[in-house]
């Protein structure tokens, strides 16, 4: 596989894409928590974001600062074209695998 992408990383990237221009730390965390119904720690998410940025899948820039954030600026994330390729490849691989499954293998009915 050309692009390496972990399961959590994939979720984070997809969420960044979903949020489009509103993707920053807290909103990404809350989006994942509400959509996937799982707890996300700032620590885990922030390391994933940094890693993805290093790989060149995400880019970021500072946004506005608010009092609500103790005067600290937000960092908005965006999926890069390379990131989009990586996501697409992951999806394609999965689709191929799904299609390759013989129809009988997942045909669980309990009559026999």
């Amino acid at each position: 596989m050309k692009y390496s992408l972990g399961e959590f990383e994939e979720i984070v990237m997809l969420t960044v894409a979903v949020l489009y221009e509103q993707a920053y730390g807290v909103s990404i965390k809350e989006e994942i928590e509400s959509r996937l119904n799982r707890k996300v720690s700032i620590g885990a998410m922030r390391t994933a974001l940094s890693r993805l940025e290093q790989k060149g899948y995400l880019e970021s820039e500072f946004g506005e600062a608010t009092a609500m954030r103790g005067g600290k600026r937000k960092r908005y994330f965006k999926v890069t074209p390379l990131g989009k390729k990586a996501l697409k490849e992951v999806m394609d691989t999965r689709t191929q695998l799904w299609q390759a499954i013989p129809s009988i293998a997942l045909d669980f009915n309990f009559s026999h």
Binding site: Y24, G25, V26, K29, S41, I42, G43, A44, R46, T47, S50, R51, F62, A65, A67, M68, R69, G70, G71, K72, R73, K74, R75
Partner: protein, 878 residues
């Protein structure tokens, strides 16, 4: 911007500082912003939880990828130094195993003691905590003529409904009428249910007991409705699915309308079955306006903005309006007050007739526990500080070298504080292990059933423990680190031989430590003496070898025959019966006395008894005679009173005076036939109240008292059971020893005594460990001096005195300081008993001697060794 910010709370600053310290600078800004945003969001619900979560998030951020890059120049040194700190801490621990053990062990024992106290306090405070917080219990202060003033937990049936009408602050009420044990009949079986109570239909609105089936609002609406606990349902019907089933109590048929969860251990109300309060022979309208006798507990739910003092000011008016009894005297006799539900368990020790208050505990003892727990921890912390500074010599070279290489004072402080944090962390871990493994034994000793498990998985507990451990590490480490890091390098490198001058701060700490230990020793002696005193005090009657057997239904009817049969048995020395049991305050009824000026009303305690009650209990008659079957009037018209009542009446001789129950007409009163010496029918917390005894053959007794042969108790019990079985078919045989009942009265005191003793023992142990360590250091420092003295002809005895006198002086000083404080506290405690021991000043001398001996024995290991050492060895090298 700044102005706006001040409106919000800030996240904990220390945690933020930590984050800023480790976080990569390029990530810091937005991460900190995110965390602040989350914190503000969360703190809308609870600031405390938000802080905890903030702390957790920061801890979770402490991971590779977020932590500053270590390839930077200055960072390498930093992390390297930290590694080195750990290494030297480890080496020091291993090199001086003895000291490390003393340090860690004493700290962990202190912490373990605190943990146990915490479990105890937590358990006591959890009582009734799950109910809404605006429930109040209606109590009375009764001040009748001819009896002691008393607080009473009971109230009248009519009070709840009428007060709810009168006071808009009252939202709803429920009454709780304990009916005790009842025989419950089913077609196929008969079972005794221990705790049955009659309550109002609002019971489940007031209290948060969970129904598993049936609807809370309607389960007890109609007479003969019943709610049973799961356990009772299974006992009676074989399954929890018992809605609509019926059963019979005292010939009335009841229908099960609801099943509820079993009542938890930490509830002051304990019951197995609730019945509609209007069930047994009660007519609704009459009952709801019945005044006069106080028979049940009343609970109110007040609305949120009720003003208690304003309500209290209107109680007298209410009493005049509704509870007319001697009209204008009502407010002299009665004062109402509302007791908050959370106070019922812990603040009712001065309230009497408190029958529905399971495991009532004296809340003042909670503070005592907390105090001794914290004190033991202080002793342990002092050990730590003392030993570390005393051992400064051993580290002086290291300090000098580090400084010479370029360590700044700040670095050294960091190092020593880190070391102390490591030790305290270790001690915390050990403390948990100690508690975990000793808990089964402690449970048996304290008669509790504590478990550490629910706490270990609780985040608040984990964080508090972590916090305490860090706090202790800092406290214990701060002074030593300041002290050690202050050494001047040249001096320190030279080895910094004993400077000769004593450390005053260290002596002060040791004195303080021994003050605490000594105070604890003396206190536990006084507590033990008081407990022993209560156990052995001549209470005016004999409570040994008395077996109590309840007389229910048919047992009551056949009492006379049963008694005859029992008395024919070899091991049974006497049989009597009474309406109430000794060991409580007896019910107070109205009483009439014919004075020269006319008939006066009084309200002494009353009990009706069998003819030979005084003989069986060995109660001494001072004047007049005892009850006798030879006199016909002894059934109902003869009264025997106690000395207190006779004093209250004020006659020169009370015998022969005309008296009677309040319902006797003035022209047909009975006579006082005898006066007994005072005996303590109530617990020793209370003064002997005025008492009148009488016989009413036709009233039926509630309990039989059987005096058995103390040398052959099993056989005697067997005989009693067999006789009982001959006469009583319906009620199974049950018995209790009167002595056990009396022990229960002092359970709170006993448990307090045990906990104080345990912790005193631990504190002595911790203090000794510290002393042992200190002695070894100070004597090591004097080896040369001892050598020279010995060469010059000092005897071993002289050397022992010289070596011990410093310590002896410190203990003397602490004895002098500890005495007044301890005396004050113990005097306060003893005032809670109407009958108490005097504090003998010799106790302090004794306590001082005990700690002196313990201290001398502890250090003797070192002093004897040093005194016997061959001077050649100590003087050889220089």
């Amino acid at each position: 911007m700044k102005g706006m910010m001040e409106k919000w709370d800030n996240p904990p600053r220390l945690v933020t500082a930590f984050l800023r310290w480790f976080c990569k600078s390029e990530l810091l800004e937005d991460v900190e912003g995110d965390l602040t945003e989350l914190f503000l969001q969360r703190s809308r619900e609870s600031k405390r939880i938000a802080s905890l979560e903030y702390f957790r998030d920061v801890l979770l951020l402490f991971r590779p990828g977020i932590i500053k890059n270590l390839t930077f120049n200055y960072s390498i040194i930093h992390s390297g130094m930290i590694k080195n700190y750990f290494k030297s801490a480890y080496r020091n621990l291993i090199k001086y195993k003895g000291f490390s053990t003393i340090n860690i062990l004493s700290l962990s024992i202190g912490m373990a003691a605190c943990l146990v106290v915490f479990l105890f306090v937590q358990d006591e405070q959890s009582f009734d905590a799950n109910h809404q917080n605006n429930i109040y219990r209606l109590c009375e202060v009764q001040n009748f003529p001819g009896t002691n003033t008393q607080k009473v937990a009971l109230s009248m049936p009519g009070m709840a409904p009428t007060m709810t009408q009168e006071f808009p602050e009252i939202e709803t009420y429920t009454r709780y009428w304990g009916w005790g044990r009842q025989l419950v009949e089913r077609p196929d079986k008969k079972i005794i249910v221990e705790h049955v109570a009659g309550v109002d239909s609002t019971f489940f609105d007031v209290f948060d007991f969970k129904l598993t089936s049936g609807s809370p609002g309607s389960v007890l609406n109609a007479p003969f409705d019943a709610v049973v606990t799961k356990e009772t349902a299974i006992k009676l019907f074989g399954s929890q699915d018992a809605i609509g089933e019926t059963f019979v109590i005292q010939e009335d048929q009841y229908v099960v309308r609801g099943i509820m969860n079993d009542v938890p251990e930490n509830s002051h109300l304990q019951f197995d079955m609730l019945l509609s309060i209007y069930s047994i022979g009660v007519e609704r309208a009459e009952f709801d306006s019945r005044f006069g006798s106080n028979s049940l507990n009343t609970y109110f739910v007040l609305n949120k903005n009720a003003d208690l003092s304003q309500m209290a000011s209107k109680f007298p008016e209410y009493l005049t309006k509704y509870v007319q009894r001697d009209n204008d005297k009502i407010n002299e006799y009665y004062k109402l007050f509302l007791q908050p539900l959370h106070a019922v368990h812990l603040s009712s020790s001065d309230i009497e007739h408190d029958y529905n208050n399971y495991r009532k505990f004296n809340g003042k003892y909670i503070n005592v526990f907390l105090l001794v727990g914290v004190l033991s921890l202080i002793i342990a912390t002092i050990n730590f500080t003392n030993l570390t500074t005393a051992r400064a010599n051993t580290r002086s070279k290291e300090v000098g070298l580090r400084k010479a290489i370029g360590a700044r004072r700040k670095n050294l402080i960091e190092q020593f504080i880190l070391e102390s944090l490591i030790l305290s962390g270790f001690a915390t871990f050990l403390a948990i292990l100690i508690v975990y493994f000793s808990l089964p034994y402690l449970n048996a000793l304290m008669e509790r059933n504590f478990s550490l498990n629910p706490y270990l998985s609780d985040h608040t507990f984990q964080f508090s423990l972590l916090g305490i451990s860090i706090f202790l590490g800092l406290i214990a480490g701060v002074y030593p680190s300041l002290y050690l890091s202050s050494f001047k390098p040249p001096l320190a490198l030279k080895g910094f031989k004993s400077q000769g001058k004593k450390s005053y701060s260290r002596s002060a700490l040791v004195i303080f430590q021994f003050c605490i230990t000594l105070g604890m020793i003396v206190s536990s002696i006084i507590v033990a003496k008081q407990l022993l005193f209560m156990k052995n005090k001549d209470i005016g009657f004999s409570k040994e070898h008395i077996v109590l057997v309840p007389l229910n239904g048919e047992a009551n009817e056949s009492y006379a025959e049963m008694k005859l049969e029992l008395l024919s048995k070899s091991n049974i020395l006497g049989v009597s019966a009474s309406g109430q049991r000794l060991g409580n305050n007896f019910h107070q009824w109205g009483f009439k006395v014919k004075m020269d000026t006319g008939v006066t009303r009084m309200t002494p305690s009353n009990v009706y008894v069998d003819y030979d009650f005084l003989e069986v209990y060995d109660i001494k008659i001072k004047e007049g005679r005892s009850f006798s079957k030879d006199y016909a009037q002894d059934n109902g018209l003869s009264f025997i009173i106690n000395q207190s009542f006779a004093n209250e009446l004020g006659f020169e001789s009370a015998v022969g005076k005309k008296v009677g129950h309040s319902w006797y007409p003035n022209d047909s009163l009975g006579t006082i036939i005898g006066v007994t010496e005072d005996f303590n029918f109530n617990s020793l917390h209370y003064k002997v109240n005025t008492l009148s005894m009488v016989i009413h053959e036709d009233w039926g007794f509630s309990e039989m008292s059987i005096k058995v042969n103390g040398e052959n108790i099993p056989e005697a019990l067997d005989q009693v059971e067999r006789v009982y079985g001959q006469f009583v078919k319906e009620y199974p045989f049950e018995y209790e020893f009167l002595n056990d009942h009396f022990n229960e009265l002092y359970q709170s005191d006993q448990q307090m005594g045990r906990v104080v003793t345990i912790i005193t023992g631990l504190s002595i142990f911790i203090g000794c460990m510290g002393l042992f360590g200190l002695a070894s250091i100070s004597i090591q420092r004097r080896t040369k001096e001892i050598g020279i003295r010995k060469v010059l002809g000092a005897s071993i005895q002289q050397l022992l005195v010289i070596l011990s006198q410093d310590f002896a002086l410190m203990i003397l000083a602490s004895a002098i300081l500890a005495t007044p404080v301890t005396y004050y506290f113990m005097q306060q405690w003893l005032e809670g008993f109407a009958y108490s021991v005097q504090i003998n000043p010799l106790v302090f001398v004794f306590g001082g001697l005990v700690s002196l001996v313990i201290a001398m024995v502890t250090i003797s290991f070192h002093t004897i060794k040093a005194a016997n050492a061959n001077p050649v060895h100590s003087l050889r090298d220089e």
